[in-house]
Symmetry: C2
Subunit: 189 residues, 2 copies
Amino acid sequence: MPRAGLTTERLTRAGAELADEVGFDQVTVSALARRFDVKVASLYSHLRNSQDLRTRIALLALEELADRAAEALAGRAGKDALTALANVYRDYAREHPGRYAAAQFRLDPETAAASAGVRHAQMTRAILRGYDLAEPEQTHAVRLLGSVFHGYVSLEMGGGFSHSAPDTQETWTRTLDALDTLLRNWPAA
Amino acid sequence: MPRAGLTTERLTRAGAELADEVGFDQVTVSALARRFDVKVASLYSHLRNSQDLRTRIALLALEELADRAAEALAGRAGKDALTALANVYRDYAREHPGRYAAAQFRLDPETAAASAGVRHAQMTRAILRGYDLAEPEQTHAVRLLGSVFHGYVSLEMGGGFSHSAPDTQETWTRTLDALDTLLRNWPAA
DNA sequence: TCATTTTCCTAAAAGCATTAGCCTTCTGTA
DNA sequence: TACAGAAGGCTAATGCTTTTAGGAAAATGA
């Protein structure tokens, strides 16, 4: 009986695909084992436990997302950069809903600090170079942008916006216009 | 052996408390049965299944939240109203993290349409009466506000904001200032 | 070639969800 | 007041999922 060739890497990747197919919280060690046509216990040589699997998928998603963001930001500034970064998040969530959900997975502090999550914050901050904001307002703005990106994507995907009325694409465009306006007219403290 | 006096109502309420204590996704039919010192199977006379329980908790949370919002909005307008509504969400999430998470639970379309979720949208819209926005911009603004409220609360609670730097309370205040400014200077389409 | 490590397996325990069928406790009506 | 029927809670059983322990085959490398 030849070996299946399991690897932590391969399992993580397959887990991410599974997440996109059935949802992040339906990702189960059992389902993953089935996908590799292997007994469940076999996975425990490569994964500490279920939580470990989820964590790895989350880290993968954060990396991918940060890579896409970095590429999108290259050579852009101002509203152009703002739009590009915002679209990276929205598009990623649409293409990979399970991975996007994974990226929201609560990591323990040390893991989070060592994750690509840090890069995300830096990139959002980079956008603000095109606007005129000094600390601590810059940090406030970074957090606001993060809130809007995440909140919008999350509500849109969760069906939080009535499926009627104006198109959500239109709202997205106007939201980015609004954010740009806001950053250019940031109120004095 | 006297009866335990189970009721769909009581189970839902206890489920909500349980959610606040251990997290919404740790809410399990078994845990609930334990809390009432009753056998698991007994709950199935009052709940269709696990999903049913979660749905009921979600509806309860949406109701409570809408009630709080309605009360907070009474007699307020403009930025005062904006702040009040925003604080309702944030405070509720802090006081009842499990319930807040439940309020994000994905409901099937019919259930959602019959839920208090509708009132939430109406109240956000009510805030905008204090600003000068006609349709379809008003809808865009409603969605933006929802995104910010949800996104901020969700990131803050998930530890998404570094625990250092400026205080998150400060960011919250500045975020509301910024939103007020934005609504008063909404960019032309 | 053979000792070692690695990979995968069988076995087993424990927890959760869900259904079926029973017995007892209420309730309401004659 | 009695008792028929409904409703509440129980036992039993099945089928997931997670996780640990220990064994056997396969790859590795000296």
